[in-house]
Subunit: 346 residues, 2 copies
DNA sequence: TTGTACGCGTTATCAG
DNA sequence: CTGATAACGCGTACAA
């Protein structure tokens, strides 16, 4: 594979000149430039980013840590980040998080060893040791958490305000006349789950509605747990079936809907169902799912901004961005909305 | 950030010794080793992979090109590859494919500039210019296509035999007594789509069943097109409704099911439905979906093998692996199977 | 068992 | 406008 020296030789110039052409930073004689460019084409020259990274201490690479979840929200988030990164000239280096906590730390070391320019953590399931390690790393490299992970880590954070969003959702359901609202929450150990649950409770209070324990089901963000939740609500719940079910994630809402459809229970006539995340399936399924859209485009954009700025401004202070979720009203709560969302809609 | 020299100084040895400890290649005095290791911990030393890659011409990195599809099959494939790569000490460098064909080529150049050790292309939608470029690149770096992309490119290929799988599926349906079998195929421009369709036709022939044009619908692998297909079969098809629908992808099958459920049509009593891919949703939805499982674990494993072997053996010959799909019989064709697949099943 | 010295491919600095 | 040269951090002959 040709290197800069080969190009220089072929173009009859010094490597410095070639470098200048590549980075077009200093003025170069047009003719010289042309000769260099031609040489590069002829030799199929591709600059070596390793060498470049050594010199410049920048690799134009973001390390991203994603969970191996079935929940496609994380895949979609990942895609947006990749896209946004590409727009600003960055590429992604990926680590999936694995079972063992030691591995989490190894993953981060792996990223550091590649001298990535920033780390983005996409998960609500942070192991404390790993998070603490990331906090320490944040002294050298910009680190961003894309979820509420509990206590105030000294890193940048960006996430959607689940509390307010869920409150909004309660109001939406109450507007439609629902009063017996059940909630499928996530595991209590996860702050994101609690935010959403707290928002639900607060929304209920504001509407003078009681929160009945028998209308609360703890799921684990999986489709199955959503199924089991609505099965519980409809078959075992002492209060009898609710007239609306709010789930803390789309996946659980879809699981709940699967149960309802299998029993011939009508949505939203018999029971309204809502989700959270607005994964693409929410828009594509039948009935279309009312949910809270996380502003993933924004999350992705702001992540990149944060990384670029922390690099350039050497800004030591951490930013904490809380973005607003958007209520998407669809057929699963509002029968006047199309049962199937059209292709080019939105 | 500490470098190898700092570690050497602190441990009172030469950098060579430190290097030896890191790579534990040559014998090192146990005491010396201990001192070095301690120094590494104290300085929080993390080896610089850029420098290492320059010297060794290996980066332990695989470049992966994935499409920005909604189809979660590709996400799952991606996860398995990541996992398999991690097991063999590799990490993933990601590029999403974008609209413009020039960008496809730029993506590959980007990967080359990072001096990745291999390229894995995960898409059925290869633009010819990009594929041709990859073919050329394959002279220097192992390249693997994970789909049937048409003509015989001089690269490694691994994919599932859609022809035989679909044939198998026809036999399964015929065994259950179905004779009016409709097929939702993919766009004709894609070889993968044609393999599956051809397998369907061949299976029908073998069973002396006519392939009626009005029972063929061309979709685009999207959920929506599956929905439209079954709508067509049940509302407009001149032959009247089929008693089984085979889709060339799970996503289309799920779309078809969405329509059927919304109309109260019973699956599989009124109509059986089958998919292809075995995305996780196929197992999690209600009714559970009969489908062809692509052996993604194998695909991922073999991909890594191929890359490692081409590297080491300098093997110039290309391998073409065709793996077998596995028929997963579930409730959408066989009512004796559980409607909901249990958590720990499989 | 350990150390010295060179080179991997690039950019930054300085001198022309 | 151009060129020579010193880093960047590491691995590895070769020498000791």
């Amino acid at each position: 594979m040709a290197n800069i020296r080969d190009v220089a030789k072929r173009a009859g110039v010094s490597i410095t000149t070639v470098s200048r052409v590549i980075n077009n930073i200093d003025p170069v004689n047009p003719e010289t430039r042309l000769a260099v460019e031609q040489a590069m084409v002829e030799l199929e020259y591709v600059p070596n980013q390793l060498a470049r990274g050594m010199r410049t201490r920048r690799t134009n690479t973001i390390g991203i840590i994603i969970p191996e979840f079935v929940n496609s929200f994380y895949h979609e988030l990942f895609q947006y980040i990749e896209e946004e990164a590409a727009l600003t000239g960055y590429s992604l280096f990926v680590c999936s998080t694995r079972e063992h906590t030691d591995q989490g730390i190894d993953q981060i070391k792996e990223l550091i060893s590649r001298r990535i320019d920033g780390i983005v953590l996409c998960t609500y399931r942070g192991d404390v040791r790993m998070l603490t390690y990331l906090e320490q790393v944040a002294g050298d490299i910009p680190v961003i958490f894309l979820d509420n992970l509990g206590r105030d880590y000294q890193v940048n954070t960006i996430y959607t305000d689940g509390f307010t969003a869920m409150e909004k959702m309660v109001f939406h359901l109450v507007d439609l006349g629902h009063t017996n609202i059940a909630f499928i929450k996530g595991l209590e150990q996860y702050p994101v789950a609690n935010d959403r649950f707290a928002g639900f409770k607060h929304g209920m209070e504001k509407n003078s509605l009681a929160v009945d324990q028998s209308y609360i089901f703890e799921g684990d963000y999986s489709l199955q747990s959503g199924y089991m939740a609505s099965q519980y609500f409809f078959e075992q719940c002492p209060k009898g079936p609710p007239d609306a079910i709010m789930a803390a994630s789309d996946l659980m809402a879809i699981g709940a809907i699967n149960y309802l459809l299998s029993k011939g229970i009508k949505i939203p006539q018999d029971v309204a169902v809502t989700g959270y995340d607005d994964i693409s399936l929410a828009r594509l399924m039948v009935p279309s799912l009312t949910t809270i859209a996380q502003p993933i485009r924004d999350i992705a954009k702001q992540s990149m901004n944060l990384i670029i700025n922390s690099k350039e401004a050497r800004a030591k202070e951490r930013k904490h961005l809380v973005l607003e979720g958007v209520l998407k009203i669809r057929h699963s709560t509002d029968p006047t909305k199309p049962k199937v969302v059209e292709l080019d809609l939105e």
